[in-house]
């Protein structure tokens, strides 16, 4: 087991390194330096600025200096907000995005699993078709359509929900979380349904039923564990997807999270911020995928047995 974990961690390192390198050079290739401005700036000034930000060094040197700083945990100064470091900005936006992601994931898991399991109990009946069709809507309606619609209905017409913000008015966390969670609720519903279906007819369940156990216990104690396995494997990619999804939701609802920071940084050519955010998020995703794989392996008795050897 430990060898497996160690091996996967080793694999993660070149991934992260690749991300840093690719992003670094991609960002430098961008037109529009960070210091272009409307009012004319003299050559002398531009030179001074570029020296300060190390932009006058050859690319190769800049890259190495950046790596060096990174190892010490320093992601450099922001190009766009003078006097602020990228670390500052990331750690300001991170808790908010994390909270949003957490609520969305909870909503997705609870609603998704409940719906999927529910549907799997009576396949090919209304109990099955109804939740699955609703789930399909979640997949087919993009969040930038769903979000504004929810705002229109609940925020404006019915006036029971705040329209934007996060943590400023009571209840303003509800709509964004639902918007973000909706799509993943749908996926999870489908996953858990198919997982449950596969498991429901297995022999060991028949044994349990033959023993006289009530259906409820059969489902909850025996079926769920196997049936929800695909959901657990999905959690890794789901996390990555949630991060991307948060870009839109944060924009629509004006939430000061990491996603919004990233988009602004891209538009503002804030090189260091772009790099920092990308590296940070990629590392998080890699870690999360790793964790998810480990948990899935541990839960799946077959795999676990393999690793014991």
């Amino acid at each position: 087991m430990w060898r497996f974990i160690g091996f996967r961690i080793l694999q993660a390192i070149p991934v992260i390194l690749a991300v840093i390198t690719v992003t670094f050079f991609l960002v430098r290739a961008a037109p529009g330096g960070p210091f272009d401005s409307e009012k004319a700036v003299s050559e002398q000034v531009k030179a001074a600025l570029e020296a300060r930000y190390r932009l006058d060094q050859p690319m190769y040197e800049q890259y190495l200096s950046y790596l060096g700083d990174l190892l010490q945990g320093d992601m450099g100064p922001s190009f766009y907000y003078p006097g602020r470091s990228v670390n500052d900005l990331i750690f300001q936006g991170l808790p908010i995005t994390a909270e949003l992601g957490l609520y969305a994931l909870l909503i997705a898991l609870i609603i998704g699993c409940a719906a999927g399991v529910f549907a799997a109990l009576k396949p090919n009946t209304v109990q099955d078709y109804l939740p699955m069709s609703v789930a399909m809507i979640g997949i087919c309606m993009p969040s930038f359509l769903l979000g504004p619609l929810l705002v229109l209905i609940f925020g404006i017409w019915l006036d029971v929900m705040p329209v934007s913000g996060w943590g400023q008015t009571m209840g303003d966390k509800v709509l964004p979380s639902i918007t973000l969670g909706a799509m993943y609720a749908a996926y999870i519903a489908r996953l858990s349904r198919s997982g449950m279906l596969e498991v429901m007819n297995q022999d060991y369940l028949r044994t349990a039923r033959a023993k006289g156990l009530p259906e409820r216990t059969v489902v909850l104690r025996h079926a769920l564990r196997g049936g929800l396995l695909p959901v657990i494997s999905f959690l890794g990619p789901a996390f990555a997807a949630l991060l991307s999804g948060s870009f839109v939701v944060e924009t629509v609802f004006q939430i000061p999270g990491l996603g919004r920071f990233y988009i602004q940084a891209a538009f503002n050519r804030d090189y260091t911020m772009i790099l920092g955010t990308t590296v940070f998020l990629s590392t998080l995703i890699v870690i999360f995928n790793l964790l998810s794989d480990i948990v899935a392996a541990w839960l799946n008795p077959r795999l676990r047995y393999q690793f014991r050897q």
Partner: protein, 295 residues
């Protein structure tokens, strides 16, 4: 006596091939058939758009402004007085175009890559799949946004960027298929019969691997369309004067209170099309392998 024998013969089921079986199952799935019909209808509509569109694509009528659906403008007009029916048709052309082409790019890269890895096996396979894992771990959204911001928005780049993201899963699937198929007995038989690798690949491996590839392709298209819509919503995808459904939706969101039809119709168009694609894809998957797990 003869009558009974005839009845017996009639009662016996006819032998069917894999494809006929699949098609039969597909026909029975009503949702999938609805999806297919809708898609065919949409494609025809979009192909014929230049002939059937009632107005010019960019024809403005500034004094008219935005009006709700009426006899002259079936789906209303936008704030420039442009006919929405026309714009949605043209938007559909672009959205579908991006969907199909980007998926095709992904397909091409993915199938080639996966087939090579699967057939070669061993070290080559291990390295190739490691690369796939690496790319899979990257937050693709970040990179696509970065690509579009850095290199400006043009259509070609959009195809490449999106295609470059979606090929990964395709490669994995194809490789998995090829790998398992390679070990099948009939392939061993073919090999011992002296068939060339090329013949083996074309006559045995690809047709059998085709099933999941087709299914996954059909399911990739809606993902691609969603991705394009999202990028356009951010202002990074299709640029004016061209519009895709994603662009139309983003314009519609701006004015959704005063002119809700500007949001509803493009939104419906996109959602229903995605619905149809997903149902059809699901149906295909169920048809080709009813025991396959969803997702």
């Amino acid at each position: 006596m003869t009558e009974t024998t005839d009845n017996l013969v009639q009662a016996m089921p006819k032998g069917t091939s894999l494809w006929e079986d699949a098609f039969h199952r597909l026909r029975k799935n009503r949702l999938a058939m609805f999806g297919l019909c809708y898609l065919l209808f949409l494609i025809v509509l979009c192909l014929l758009t230049p002939l059937i569109a009632p107005y010019g694509y960019e024809e403005q009528n500034l004094r008219l402004g935005a009006v709700p659906p009426n006899a002259e403008h079936w789906l209303g007009t936008d704030t420039f007085g442009r006919d929405m029916f026309t714009r949605i048709l043209y938007g559909g052309r672009i959205s579908l175009l991006v969907g199909f082409i980007a998926t095709f790019v992904a397909l091409l890269i993915g199938v080639t890559y996966g087939a090579i890895a699967g057939y070669a096996g061993g070290k080559v396979d291990a390295i190739m799949m490691r690369l796939v894992d690496i790319f899979y771990a990257l937050p693709y959204m970040i990179f696509i946004i970065l690509l579009m911001v850095v290199f400006g928005r043009n259509l070609l780049l959009l195809f490449l960027a999106i295609g470059a993201v979606e090929w990964l899963v395709m490669a994995r699937i194809v490789r998995g298929q090829v790998q398992s198929l390679r070990q099948q007995e009939y392939v061993e038989a073919a090999m011992s019969l002296g068939l060339s690798p090329f013949a083996i690949i074309t006559r045995h491996l690809i047709p059998n691997a085709l099933g999941p590839v087709i299914v996954y392709t059909t399911l990739t298209i809606p993902n691609v369309m969603l991705l394009e819509a999202f990028l356009s919503f951010l202002g990074l995808g299709i640029q004016p004067p061209q519009s895709s459904w994603g662009v139309l939706i983003s314009y519609g969101v701006e004015t959704m209170e005063e002119y809700p039809w500007l949001l509803i119709f493009p939104g419906l168009a996109l959602t229903i099309t995605l619905f149809a694609l997903n149902f059809f894809g699901d149906g295909l998957r169920d048809a080709l392998d009813p025991k396959a797990s969803k997702d």
